[in-house]
């Protein structure tokens, strides 16, 4: 499998990654959603606030106009001013100083007096001349034409933004004897007053630049540039403006001036202030998330350990089983799937132990190869024809020996002999087919086909001779007479399979070739042959020429067989 970052060597890591990944994703999405909702909420709230601020501003202007109008109305009825004007040639300086007194009385910094033609007669501000009181004259003209009792508006006076009011002096009502003009500056103090009431930053800006602001100089410069960029910013739309310290939700509110380009009232609220409460919520959400992650980590680790520990024990236990320990039982004490698995493994151990026992018994009764084939293919009646080398070995003079020895000693000696012979046969890949008293029938090439089964059989026979020599040396040391064997080997096509009844089966071979091998073994007793091992030409041919030193013994007739068999002594 290709390398993947999501392959984990440990189940606990995988579980941890899964739980934390899911939880983190959920929390992150929640956090983002909340954050987004907070931002939209803050924007909506800011906009609502700014609209209220705009109304408060409008109201402030309206109140200012109402106040100036009302106080100007009182002023026009003042006795002293009438005294001043009563003179045939009213003294302008006295009138000016009286207006100056009024500015203090009224709180309007600019008060001017105009004649019925709109000519400036006197002014509280010495710097103000006929030329720069245009907005007042504009208002007087408009009020006169519309036959209004008073008029008001916003415009520049001496280059500065003012709220302007004109009120007639009646002598008596409705005869107009002159006009009072009162002006109130829209300056930083005014902007600050709006800010004090609303908490909103206020800037008055036009093409002429910043008229008044509560912002710092660089910030108001940014706002002024936005306003100067054109009427696109106007129209009462809310947008976000990046100022030096924060992003501001900004409302551009155009304000018409008397005969001038409009001024834009820019109302702003820092987004940060609006988000403060939301920020706290987000902070808390973050803490809760971290705690949840920590708790989830601990739980996942605990859960993973609860799974991986028993899995590790299961793995260890299966190693024991692989090593052949079917006795030890695994105790998990769990009711879940792992508990069931442990029970199953224990049951498997029991099954394996039983099977092992069966196999063990089988091994002792049949050759390991036959046992393996039985285990694999099952014990079925059947057969196949195949080429097999059959070896018969017989203990010579066993009958006389049996008469001399007590039965236990006889059996012990026989078993000792058979054990040595069997070992040699198996060492050379042969399979003990059966013991027939003191005789041994062995197969080479069945049940498992082997290459060179003939050669192996011959080698086994020579090995058996050598093994018997060793055994005879031991027997001599024990003071017993030596043993002698005769071995017959033949290679032939025979029928191999399980032979017997349904209750009892033996794997064996049957056929003419088997009889020939038995017959060859019998021929070793013939003294003229002077050999312990006789084999057929078929075996030698199968073993290949020159592999063994042999001596031809001629052809013999075998009982029940048509034609002679050529036989050889193996030296």
């Amino acid at each position: 499998m290709a390398f993947s970052p999501f392959r984990f060597r440990r189940f606990s890591t995988r579980l941890l990654a899964l739980v934390l990944g899911l939880l983190f994703a959920t929390l992150a999405v929640t956090y983002l959603l909340v954050s987004h909702a907070n931002l939209s909420n803050a924007l909506a709230h800011s906009e609502a606030n700014l609209r209220v601020g705009a109304r408060i501003y409008d109201d402030a202007i309206r109140r200012q106009i109402a106040y100036l109008t009302r106080t100007a109305g009182l002023m026009t009825g003042d006795y002293a001013i009438r005294q001043v004007l009563q003179a045939e040639h009213p003294d302008i300086r006295t009138l000016s100083s009286a207006l100056q007194s009024y500015t203090q009385r009224v709180g309007a910094p600019v008060i001017a007096f105009f004649d019925t033609e709109g000519q400036l007669l006197a002014n509280s501000d010495a710097e103000m001349e006929n030329e720069n009181v245009g907005p007042f004259r504009y208002l007087i003209d408009r009020a006169s034409k519309a036959d209004q009792p008073e008029d008001s508006g916003i415009s520049y006076l001496n280059g500065k933004l003012h709220v302007l009011v004109v009120v007639p002096l009646y002598a008596p009502y409705p005869n107009i004897a002159g006009w009072f003009g009162l002006a109130f500056p829209i300056d930083h103090a005014f902007a600050q007053k709006i800010k004090d009431t609303t908490g909103i930053e206020v800037t008055f800006a036009s093409r002429r630049g910043v008229q008044a602001t509560t912002l710092s100089a660089p910030d108001s410069g940014i706002v002024s540039q936005l306003v100067a960029r054109g009427p696109g910013q106007a129209g009462g739309q809310v947008s976000i403006v990046e100022l030096s310290d924060d992003r501001y939700v900004t409302l551009f509110k155009p304000e018409d001036l008397l005969g001038e380009d409009p001024v834009t009232v820019v109302l702003e609220r820092p987004l940060k202030a609006e988000l403060a409460a939301a920020h706290e919520l987000e902070q808390r959400l973050l803490y809760i998330s971290l705690v949840a992650l920590a708790v989830a980590t601990l739980l996942a680790l605990g859960l993973a350990r609860g799974v991986s520990d028993p899995v590790r024990r299961l793995a260890g236990h299966t190693k024991l089983i692989a090593g052949g320990d079917y006795v030890t039982r695994l105790q998990l004490d769990r009711a879940d799937e792992l508990g069931h698995l442990a029970d199953s493994i224990n049951a498997m151990s029991t099954g394996l132990a039983e099977r092992d026992q069966v196999r063990d018994l089988l091994d002792k009764n049949v050759s390991p190869e036959v046992a393996a084939q039985l285990m694999r293919d099952g014990a079925t009646l059947g057969g196949e024809e195949r080429e097999v080398t059959i070896l018969f070995a017989d203990l010579r003079g066993f009958t006389t020996l049996s008469e001399r020895l007590a039965p236990p000693e006889l059996l012990a000696l026989l078993n000792r002999y058979l054990d040595r012979m069997s070992a040699e046969i198996e060492r050379h890949g042969g399979v003990i087919d059966k013991f027939i008293g003191d005789a041994i029938m062995a197969l080479f090439g069945a049940p498992v086909a082997q290459g060179d089964s003939a050669g192996r059989a011959l080698a086994a026979a020579r090995g058996m001779e050598a093994a018997l020599a060793g055994l005879n040396a031991e027997l001599a040391a024990e003071g017993r007479p030596p043993l002698a064997i005769g071995v017959g080997i033949n290679t032939a096509r025979v029928v191999a399979g399980n032979i017997g009844s349904h209750r009892r089966l033996n794997y064996s071979v049957i056929g003419d070739g088997v009889n020939v091998a038995a017959r060859l073994q019998a021929l070793t007793r013939t003294p003229e042959y002077r050999t312990n091992i006789i084999t057929s030409a078929a075996t030698l041919a199968a073993a290949g020429p020159g592999a063994f030193a042999t001596r031809p013994l001629g052809a013999v007739n075998v009982k029940g067989r048509v034609g002679a068999v050529e036989i050889h002594a193996v030296e």
């Binding site: 006795y79 002293a80 005294q83 001043v84 003179a87 003294d91 300086r93 006295t94 000016s96 100083s97 009286a98 100056q100 007194s101 500015t103 203090q104 009385r105 709180g107 309007a108 910094p109 600019v110 002014n123 509280s124 501000d125 010495a126 710097e127 103000m128 500065k160 109130f184 500056p185 300056d187 103090a189 005014f190 007053k193």
Partner: protein, 213 residues
Amino acid sequence: MKRLLFAIGIAIPALLQAASAVGFRVADAKGAPVADAVVSLTPLDGPARLEPPTAPVEIMQRGQEFSPYVTPLVAGTRVSFPNRDTVQHHVYSLSKPKKFELPLYAGEAKEAIVFDQPGIVALGCNIHDWMSAYVVVLATPWFAQTGADGRAAITGIPPGRYRAEAWHPRLGKVESRELDVSGPPAASVDFTLALKPDRRLRRVHSAVPGGYK
């Protein structure tokens, strides 16, 4: 004539006994000297003889202010209000001891005003709200006005019992105490006045922008 003799009869012993002086020190609650306070000694043994000056006392208008701010005088004194300004003024008083007005005028006023009733007279100008002055009309010839150091002295006081009084524009009611004047060395009177905050209108000289204050 009989009254005159009587008056001389009081005056002569006083002269014989040698006139005394009284020093005044006027301070506010914080101990700072108070200027423009009027201190006076009113005899308790009998009414003092008042001799108003024959020439009128002058309270002029200059720089759109009255000058002086506080003018103490004995009852019966005439006061003229010359206008030394380029603008006209309209002087008036609504105070009980003397109600009057001098309608809008420039230069010398048409008439001098006689202040014949003791008491405090507040003066104003109908045109200029910030113009303010006080005339303190007294029923005793022994009075003085404190300087910047808060000190004033009254000399030539005949021995006797007196009511010492102090008044200031920022004082609600007159402070007074009794005093025995019995010749040298000079007596000393300390007044500590609980002055109200200064609420005088001040003239704003040029029309400065900035409506909200």
